[in-house]
């Protein structure tokens, strides 16, 4: 054995590569030692590959300028894989959409993992690759991260926290913000409501549905960018995630000291989602969306905003669904298709099925 070969062998930090077929997460993968380094080098680094990560420092460094935006989101979805996405892509889209709702373009994201001992490496790789793809497709770099491992039974496979950083472009003179909603403004949504929530509920309960439903998980900054380029009348943007459309509108009314009236017939809901909701006894207006936005727009710009949304692939089903009203109680009312009225309240608890 020549000297060169021995040197090469002693140079090698890891005696065996990670087994992505049969291997599982062990406590050592989160201990900060050699096993942690191996997980980083053999999984995270190649997947997220970018100069900042490759620099090997404990932090990412970049020049700050303009109006910067930061948002964070933790993801604990169960099941981890569902029709239309998985916890990986969801964790990128979720945070990125919060950034986008300010009118900002997302640039960077972090990725913090809490893994459960015994979690299959094959699943982790699938999740990480899905995250990497979602980030690449969105033009976002994952530039910092962390991994901790908890004992078996103390987690649910994998939890992911992401923090995103974005910059509001100079041409967005008045960035959308919740407090800007005023009586008379028009409320739009970019598409059908409840797709993600129903998908998760059906997958979680193992309910066989007659027609397939997919999560709408998607990055919305492209849609936002087109919308803001088409009109300067956009006052508020919000992605109606947990709590659904109903809760998001209530939040916006509370923040801006207004009320709202919605027109039930104009709220886009897929027939399959509507049918599943009837079956499950839940209201689609309270179910999460992961690829839709609410836009509140000045009345004279409503048509331009609708046209801009409809022009984008993610906004084809966009619709005008109501108006902001003057109401000191902050009540959100709905005109039912039959000509009656009712309130649309905040989500209380979790959506639970009815008994009969």
């Amino acid at each position: 054995m020549g000297f060169d070969k021995v040197e090469k062998r002693t140079d090698r930090l890891f005696s065996k590569r990670l087994d992505f077929k049969r291997g599982t997460i062990e406590l050592t993968h989160g201990a900060g030692g050699k096993a942690s380094a191996q997980l980083f080098e053999e999984l995270f680094l190649p997947a997220f590959k970018n100069p900042m990560l490759e620099a090997g420092d404990d932090q990412a460094r970049f020049a700050g300028h303009g109006r910067m935006v930061v948002a964070t989101d933790s993801h604990v979805v169960s099941p981890l894989f569902f029709p239309g996405g998985d916890i990986g892509s969801l964790s990128v889209h979720g945070t990125l959409n919060d950034i986008a709702m300010s009118g900002a373009e997302p640039h960077y994201s972090t990725a913090g993992f809490i893994l459960e001992e015994g979690f299959p490496l094959s699943d982790l790789r699938a999740i990480v690759e899905s995250m990497a793809k979602a980030a690449r497709d969105s033009g976002v770099m994952i530039v910092a991260g962390d991994t901790k491992v908890v004992e078996r039974g103390k987690g649910d496979g994998v939890f992911i926290n992401t923090t995103g950083i974005g910059i509001i472009p100079d041409h967005v003179a008045a960035p959308p913000a919740a407090h800007r909603a005023e009586p008379g403004d028009i409320i739009l949504v970019s598409g059908t409501m409840g797709d993600h929530g129903v998908t998760i509920l059906a997958a979680r309960e193992g309910l066989p549905l007659m027609s397939p439903i997919e999560s709408d998980s998607a990055a919305l900054h492209g849609l936002v960018s087109d919308l803001l380029a088409a009109t300067d009348g956009v006052k508020v943007l919000r992605d109606p995630t947990r709590g659904g459309l109903a809760t998001a509108i209530n939040e916006l009314c509370r923040t801006s000291g207004t009320g709202a009236t919605l027109d039930e017939a104009s709220i886009p809901i897929r027939r399959t989602v509507e049918a599943a909701c009837e079956l499950l006894g839940v209201d689609p207006l309270y179910l999460a969306n992961e690829g839709k936005l609410i836009a509140i727009v000045s009345p004279q710009e409503a048509d331009a905003a609708l046209a801009a949304l409809k022009n984008h692939p993610l906004g084809q089903d966009a619709a005008i669904i109501g108006t902001i009203t003057e109401d000191t109680h902050g009540f959100v009312e709905m005109q039912t298709p039959l000509g009656g009225r009712r309130m649309v309240d905040w989500l209380t608890g979790d959506p639970l099925p009815r008994i009969c």
Binding site: T348, P353, R354, I355, C356
Partner: protein, 382 residues
């Protein structure tokens, strides 16, 4: 959605509403009770009261299983799951947040370490028992006649599978007894003032339209059995108006696509095999009513959680500020209760009417409370 859209058609709704408006007699007040919580929910959710003449008042009845379950029965379930670590309590989701004594709920019992699982069907509970042979699965059985056959089917399935670790905590109650109780208990004002009932829909698919003949005759009130879609309800209200106008008191079936005169005889036979009628049962708001509930029959005693775990019922008073009792009897409206929307909200319910979306208070809170804030002249109908 087929079989739904037809019954939510706005043009049909407006036509029936116009017909109702043209048939109500000037100067006459109509007080109808929709017995069933599903009807309460539909009335509020579709804003149907806006379509009715102001002289028709809908009174929300006690047909919400969660709402009429007395606190003491819930306490029994909470005590069981807290004291027995070998027990898995399987329950429908609605029960999770119902407050028992001291504000404790199944959700808080779960948080404290009790094994409470939410199920969508009784057979899921049987599957839990199969999958956990070393544990005892207790199904929290609750509901009117609609949910009774599924419980019976589960008990029978458990018996057929030779399971010894499955039992049901039976809280099934009977609708006709409750109608009697509304007419006689409390101040009796409701009974005197009521002009008719919108009869239960799902319950009637099991017990049949004929089951109400006795009540209609005895109390001389029309009963129109209704489906749960808005146009079902409007049509039923129209039929009630017609009967009142012509001083009739018949049972009419406006839910003929689902309800037969004699009901579902196979389900009835199954239930009388697995259950027997209790001597007496306490209802929240209505008090103890004789022969108003079911228990697991002696034949299936091994599947009766109450006997298996020697569960004891202790009657507990409601929260003293809570007006659930009068609301369930139709003597008060939700907004008449001092704690409505103040101390009692869906997040922190004091009384059971605020828990289930089918409860009178929760339905009004979620869908109708903006009306309470309107100037008085706009709510003349209330």
């Amino acid at each position: 959605m087929k079989y739904v859209d037809e019954f939510r058609d706005p043009d049909a709704a407006k036509a029936i509403a116009a017909q109702i408006a043209s048939e109500v007699e000037p100067g006459r007040q109509y007080h109808f009770m929709e017995f069933c919580g599903g009807h309460t929910h539909a009335l509020c959710r579709f804003g149907l009261e806006d379509l009715l003449p102001k002289t028709i008042r809908m009174i929300h009845g006690p047909g919400c299983p969660v709402c009429v379950l007395p606190v003491g029965r819930l306490d029994m379930a909470i005590a069981l799951v807290q004291s027995r670590s070998d027990v898995i309590l399987a329950t429908y989701g609605d029960m999770m947040r119902v407050p028992g004594s001291g504000g404790r709920t199944l959700l808080s019992a779960k948080a404290a370490g009790g094994d409470v699982r939410m199920v969508y069907s009784t057979l899921q509970a049987v599957d839990l028992a199969k999958a956990n042979p070393e544990r005892d699965v207790v199904f929290f059985a609750i509901g009117f006649e609609t949910t009774t056959p599924p419980t019976a089917a589960a008990i029978k399935a458990a018996k057929d599978a030779g399971l010894t670790n499955f039992s049901a905590f039976c809280n099934h109650v009977l609708t006709p007894s409750a109608i009697d109780a509304i007419m006689t208990t409390g101040t009796g004002e409701t009974g005197a003032r009521l002009d008719g009932f919108v009869g239960p829909g799902n319950v009637s698919t099991i017990i049949g339209a004929e089951a109400y003949e006795g009540a209609a005759h005895k109390w001389n009130k029309p009963i129109v059995i209704s489906g749960f879609e808005p146009n079902d309800l409007l049509q039923s209200i129209l039929l009630l108006v017609r009967q009142v106008n012509s001083s009739e008191a018949r049972v009419e079936n406006a839910f003929a696509r689902a309800v037969r005169p004699g009901g579902n005889e196979a389900a009835q036979a199954l239930c009388s095999d697995v259950f027997q009628v209790r001597e007496s049962f306490e209802w929240r708001g209505l008090g103890s009513i004789p022969h108003s509930a079911l228990e697991v029959s002696d034949r299936y005693a091994a599947f009766d959680a109450e006997r298996k775990f020697a569960m004891e019922y202790v009657s507990r008073p409601d929260h003293k500020a809570c007006a659930c009792a009068q609301i369930l009897r139709g003597e008060k409206r939700p907004s008449d209760c001092k704690v409505f929307a103040a101390g009692c909200t869906p997040e922190h319910p004091l009384g059971s009417c605020m828990v289930s979306p089918e409860g009178a208070c929760a339905a009004h809170y979620l869908y109708g409370r903006f009306r309470d804030a309107l100037p008085a002249d706009l709510v003349a109908a209330e």
